[in-house]
Symmetry: C2
Amino acid sequence: MKANVTKKTLSEGLSLLERVIPGRSSNPLLTALKVETTEAGLTLSGTNLEIDLSCFVPAEVQQPQNFVVPAHLFAQIVRNLGGELVELEITGNELSVRSGGSDFKLQTGDIEAYPPLSFPEHADVSLNAEELAKAFSSVRYAASNEAFQAVFRGIKLEHRPESARVVASDGYRVAIRDFPASGDGRNLIIPARSADELIRVLKDGEARFTYGEGLLSVTTDRVRMNLKLLDGDFPDYERVIPKDIKLQVTLPATALKEAVNRVAVLADKNANNRVEFLVSEGKLRLAAEGDYGRAQDTLDVVQGGSEPAMSLAFNARHVLDALGPIEGDAELLFSGSTSPAIFRAAGGGGYMAVMVTLRV
Amino acid sequence: MKANVTKKTLSEGLSLLERVIPGRSSNPLLTALKVETTEAGLTLSGTNLEIDLSCFVPAEVQQPQNFVVPAHLFAQIVRNLGGELVELEITGNELSVRSGGSDFKLQTGDIEAYPPLSFPEHADVSLNAEELAKAFSSVRYAASNEAFQAVFRGIKLEHRPESARVVASDGYRVAIRDFPASGDGRNLIIPARSADELIRVLKDGEARFTYGEGLLSVTTDRVRMNLKLLDGDFPDYERVIPKDIKLQVTLPATALKEAVNRVAVLADKNANNRVEFLVSEGKLRLAAEGDYGRAQDTLDVVQGGSEPAMSLAFNARHVLDALGPIEGDAELLFSGSTSPAIFRAAGGGGYMAVMVTLRV
């Protein structure tokens, strides 16, 4: 096997695989990168047993031959090379990596021992890759990394007649994003950590879904990915979305983020970073208090709704998370001092955060 | 006390103090910032018992009054403020910090309990601040952060007739930088961690030194600093600087850094990251070998000296450190396979690294 490939395309492919393939593992086989070659290029693949990932890299290949090499070392070597072009060659049990004045010899592994990875050829449904990535990124914060209940560590994907919806929740807050989609897909729950990798891999074009047994396969023009799905019932989040909005304010999201960041410095870390929101007469007053002093910040808002004033309290951290995906103006919809509130982008766009209030 | 100050100048002063004043301490008094006021401005000061630091911030002050506040909280609040101008006011035991729509109240501490800090008024000798900072930065890497012997955790400053020299060593390598200086200063050893703060504080203009009992005070136009000095005998480093150079190569420092970085990926971490240097016929060949394979890189060099070829081995980490302060071409001076080597900038400039070779 002899291959010529540009450093740039090879590096890009390797950097995707590097995130999935573990650097260390009790099973050293899993730290390897599998390289399958045809005359058209290299197919790099790897797995961490939660995610299988495969990525095609165009190259000029002579006498194709498959091999496995230590993934992270190979990636690091390629990244550091000085030249633009990389020459790969297999001789016996060694992979040579040559570029400019550099010549590396890497021991190859036993390809027979490497676990078989298979990716489906057909697609059940197709989504816009960019919309899907944006939707996952917008709600990712609300999924827990540690929650005892597995569904709180996942992101639910729902298919509706003319749209799709992603939802994440840790039990205290819900983040939702709707986006246009067609086709008759299944509802499923993707582990949030796998969604992180999906976000990284999805660029533009189509994301083609294939449904398997407890498994979702996602294929784009560049990569193929198998994801283990989460089992279980996602909580009935629609129940907590308040319907009866009594007071509503609109203000620039950035101004609110900055002000919450400011007052949160003095908020009590042992009391949920409690920040009070007091709305009246076209002003939103934020207040926080802790061991070292107290903070207050006043912002002008456009106020609406049936109630003239309201006072609520939130976890400052959660407010900042909820505002994260909102650009331009934010709309805060309040249903009462002790019932959940909605934060969303003023111009629509499909994103919505629902948050519980802290006790007054 | 009522003061008007720009957010920018106050923030800059606080950020210097924040690095010295501990965030937590068994003695909570040490986490405080002391603010002394005159009609011309605020003098911010703090200490970690190794370094006392004081910084003047111009401000319009009415009814000057001194106070102490939690340093890190105060700095964080000021940094997050939205406005350009900050209004400070003392009322009873509270400091108000106001800007734009923000109003913070911070509890002040007991100023009587705060340890007295005093800075000398006269200067014994004066150095160029920029040269001094550059010299400390260049040799800092060679000082150890953990060495058992205190002098290896320090940087020596030597005064010579028309120049000054800073030297750091961890026992395996020596870094030296000479710079022009006049005046009759003392030789002393500054803890490397204190030198880090000095580097940060020294900008341009003069650094005025005042010698105390085991103490050095450094004054610039902006700041005043007391540093505890290290006691002890600095090793006789001049003894290890090789005099008899048998082979010498010149090449771009960047090319050598990149090549060492490349081959070091395969170097054995348990064998001092050993990288071999083989010089002959106008070529420098770097080679490294480890559990996963071997690496080789060939660079063109300008070669000189009496010996036609030489083979040596170094710790790759140490080579990269030694090359750090060198821009443009690097000159490597070899006195033999088993004796120390010199790395320095080809055009002079006062910097020199001396490194032991690894056993062949």
